[in-house]
């Protein structure tokens, strides 16, 4: 960190005599940072350190899924063929759309335009809620068809599910992965919408400025990360069985 900070010092103009006047610093600069650029880079780095452990968390789920899929490819493909590609595709478009509006919100934050931040973040939240609504429709449909793993798996008539009956326990495993992975993803989106409310409140309070907007930028990083998880979930769960 110190070597990075010292190179930034040369790049950013410091007022003469800065070292002799300890309290003569920028009002948006926390005292433990050298300058605004170091402050911004540190806040970004901290968020990435968090996201890296999130990558490993979802990576473990993906790894387990692919290990079992390799062992039971036929059953996993049969299970996948009962997911609705139409809803999956629509949700992919909705979520990538929300990444676009989030990127636009961050752009407004970089310009110090709080009104723009609020507008684009509300659009992002609306698309996020749309995604969760569609997910709820899909979950309901899976419940009605008896595809929720556990004691109610394949309950009722098996109309339309004849192809999975010979390998029902392996298909149940597929749906276990489906609900855990999309469920963890949906939980991240619900937490994201909660965080968004907080970021909006801070923005209303005027805490977001051209020089200090890490709260919006880091929330954006989180939101884009959740989008990336879906970018892999969609083909692996919905499409590989086609």
């Amino acid at each position: 960190m110190s070597s990075a900070a010292s190179t930034e010092n040369a790049a950013s103009a410091q007022p003469p005599g800065h070292g002799h006047v300890p309290h003569h610093h920028h009002p948006e600069l926390s005292h433990h940072f050298e300058d605004l650029r170091q402050q911004r880079d540190s806040l970004t780095l901290g968020m990435w350190a968090f996201l890296v452990q999130e990558i490993m968390f979802f990576g473990g789920l993906f790894c387990a899924f692919l290990v079992y899929r390799t062992a039971h490819t036929e059953a996993f493909n049969a299970g996948s063929s009962h997911l609705d590609v139409k809803w999956g595709t629509i949700n992919t478009v909705v979520l990538i759309g929300s990444s676009l509006t989030m990127a636009l919100a961050v752009g407004q934050a970089q310009r110090g335009n709080r009104k723009g931040v609020v507008t684009w973040m509300l659009a992002t939240g609306a698309l996020g809620l749309t995604f969760l609504g569609i997910k709820a429709v899909e979950y309901t449909s899976k419940w009605e068809h008896g595809l929720v793993p556990g004691r109610f798996f394949l309950r009722g008539d098996h109309h339309g599910l004849e192809d999975i009956l010979p390998m029902a326990d392996k298909v149940e495993l597929f749906y276990g992965f489906y609900f855990v992975m999309t469920g963890m993803h949906a939980l991240h989106m619900i937490i994201g919408i909660g965080l968004m409310v907080w970021v909006l409140i801070e923005t209303f309070k005027g805490k977001v400025t051209q020089n200090r907007h890490a709260i919006v930028e880091n929330f954006g990083l989180y939101w884009h990360f959740v989008d990336i998880v879906w970018i892999f979930l969609f083909p692996f769960l919905y499409l590989l069985g086609r």
Partner: protein, 142 residues
């Protein structure tokens, strides 16, 4: 004063056309991966799906997440995350792929058969184990 301290000159603000271009590219790639899913590439189906998803994720990381314009330290941190993700996949897959008695994996042979005859009457006891060998012998156990 404010201008001197302002780091605005260091900030990369993505222009609208760039954000729209990335969004459009992601939409095209989404259409492509759905189209590809309904084609028969045989064993390449998975590779095609993975490759398209990797390109989409790279676009999001570089442009929406601004890694292309971030400090080298952030690039290193993000890169380390994906490097260790590769390790996370490489070691279990190398393990499963080289064990002789994990059904469904390339090295799977009849080696397991004399050790542990499988009972077709009780498939549910195998649930939860990729080796399909429940009970005392875990996947790869001898």
């Amino acid at each position: 004063m404010a201008e001197q301290h302002s780091s605005t000159s260091h900030i990369h603000i993505s222009p609208l056309w760039l954000n729209l271009t990335i969004f459009s590219s992601l939409m095209v790639l989404t259409a492509l991966t759905v189209w590809a899913a309904f084609q028969d590439f045989g064993p390449m189906d998975f590779t095609v799906a993975l490759a398209i998803a990797a390109v989409k994720a790279t676009l999001v990381v570089l442009f929406f997440m601004h890694v292309k314009y971030s400090s080298k330290l952030v690039m290193l941190c993000a890169g380390a995350g994906f490097l260790f993700l590769i390790f996370l996949f490489a070691f279990p897959f190398a393990d499963y792929a080289t064990r002789p008695n994990v059904p469904g994996w390339p090295a799977s042979t009849d080696v397991a058969a004399p050790l542990e005859p499988r009972d077709p009457e009780m498939p549910s006891t195998n649930r939860g184990s990729p080796g399909g060998s429940g009970g005392s012998t875990g996947p790869g156990g001898v």
